[in-house]
Amino acid sequence: MIDVDVSEGCALISTADFAPLTRHDGAFARALAAAVIDLSDDDDVKVIVLRASGPDFAPADQGTFPRDLRGTVTAWGQDFSASDAIYQALCFSKKVTITEVAGVCSGAGSALVLASDLTISSEDAQFASPFMCMPESNFVLASLTIRLNRAKAWAVRGRPIGAHEAMACGLVSRVVSRAGLASATQAAAEYAAAMPLDGIVMSKMMLQAVLDAHGVGREFDMANLYATSQRAAGVTAEEE
């Protein structure tokens, strides 16, 4: 389901794609979060890369939340919005995190992009707003990343953002051809890995304080409330 490879301070987490997160596959989410947390604690790792081996980073998926969810949202929250769930694990990782995005990036894909430090994108990437169907996606991060009104328009219009526009508004760090994507990501990872480990960890600790001062942590805490609201509204992923 998830492969991990560590080499020269760079850890690569690869999977077919990240759509299982969009359809709220708890087992997948737990495995991915565990991988990120373990690598964050690994003294031999400075950089963590998320890569989809398939053609799309996170293809559009028919979300199972909240329509097919039974019981309360607390179990869902434990897997998807808690402090040790994937998005907070990635956002508050002690290491530099990179998302490598090709093709369709919807739902969980965009939520992962927002939670990562760097995003290397192929020219054909399309970033869809995650806010309608993903209660665990973090609007504060979007506002900090692409500015408030752009984040609002992204959420409200429901139109994906192309790679070059994403680059222009700050969502993406670099855009390259699909053929050059893996090597560009590798270069960025090696560049970051050239920093001393303590420097990276110290920088990420300081970044955590900044993110929390801006309300990022509290926005993650709101996910259960958003999930309740979403369920009441009857919104599923196909609305996105």
């Binding site: 806010f131 408030l148 429901g158 801006h214 009857g234 609305e239």
Partner: protein, 306 residues
């Protein structure tokens, strides 16, 4: 609730702020209709906007609210030369309650019209052309969810040229929207942004030529309104909650306090003319010499306490 303004200005407000709902599309239109004043908003006009938004909020047919203006400009900001029950400048310096009423209740605060806009559960859009200045910039354009602007619109804190306070620089909201350097630039230089520049900075979502603006804004509004109403309410609720976490709803009252102190009363319309000649201090002194003026430090009419 107490309504401020003159009988005339209160009576004029319904014709100066028009409201219509297109029930077929789910779009409500709030049209500023005071073109001879570039749609400057009087206190009763702002009260009417608040009332309309409350009405739209409760109207299940309304999914999107669009602000627009008739005439050459979208809006030049708040009317600063009006009588609404305020006191003369030197008296206002001793009446914080009046300052608070104007600065927060009527503008930024929880009772203010800008808060009614930013806290609306419906999706809000501003359609901007010509001038979008002062309060129109930071109390409408920066409070709505989406701004559609003419390429050549002039957007910014133009009031800082003559009122002095640069409230735009202190607004958490504006700093979030266009970045801190740009926010301070708009506040401290009073230089307007074009629609194109405002789009580049992140305030404006999309631009159109002036002759295409109305159609473009309508298309955007109707496209959004075509979405599921429950989904839109959920999405807007999420955005409002996140904005609360980011403290973007924190009103910046200081600029409005100062604005209020510098605002001219109806019988003081020559205040700024005098200020140009003898400075603000000299103009305040001249104001005190006017017939009927009372120096709050002495209680004597027409006497200047030095």
């Amino acid at each position: 609730m107490t309504r401020y303004g003159t009988a005339e200005s209160i009576a004029a407000a319904p014709t100066q702020v028009l409201y219509e709902v297109d029930r077929a599309t789910g779009v409500a239109w709030i049209t500023l209709n005071r073109p001879e004043k570039h749609n400057a908003m009087s206190v009763p006009m702002r009260d009417r906007i608040t009332d309309i938004i409350h009405e739209a909020n409760l109207d299940d047919d309304v999914r999107v609210i669009v602000f627009r203006g008739n005439g050459k400009s979208f809006c030049s900001g708040n009317e600063i030369n009006e009588e609404w029950g305020q006191r003369r400048p030197h008296e206002r310096r001793r009446t914080l309650n009046v300052s608070y009423r104007y600065g927060t209740d009527m503008a930024w605060g929880r009772l203010g019209f800008s808060q009614a806009i930013s806290r609306s559960p419906k999706i809000t859009i501003a359609q901007i052309h010509g001038y979008c200045a002062a309060a129109a910039y930071f109390m409408i354009a920066c409070k709505v969810d989406i701004v559609i602007a003419a390429d050549d619109a002039k957007v910014g804190a133009l009031e800082a040229r003559f009122l002095g306070p640069a409230g735009a620089a202190a607004s958490v909201h504006i700093n979030r929207i266009i970045g801190m350097k740009a926010a301070r630039r708009t506040g401290f230089t009073a230089m307007p942004m074009s629609g194109v520049e405002a789009q580049r900075l992140g305030l404006v979502h999309e631009c159109a030529s002036s002759d295409r603006l109305a159609d473009h804004a309508r298309n955007v509004a109707e496209e959004i309104a075509s979405q599921d109403p429950g989904a839109l309410l959920h999405l807007k609720g999420r955005i409002r909650a996140a904005e609360g976490l980011m403290d973007t709803s924190v009103p910046s009252v200081t600029g409005l306090f100062v604005s209020h102190h510098l605002q001219s009363a109806p019988d003081e319309m020559d205040f700024w003319k005098a200020a140009k000649e003898v400075g603000v201090g000299g103009a305040l002194d001249a104001d005190k010499r006017r017939k009927g003026a009372v120096d709050p430090r002495t209680g004597d009419e027409g006497v200047v306490a030095l």
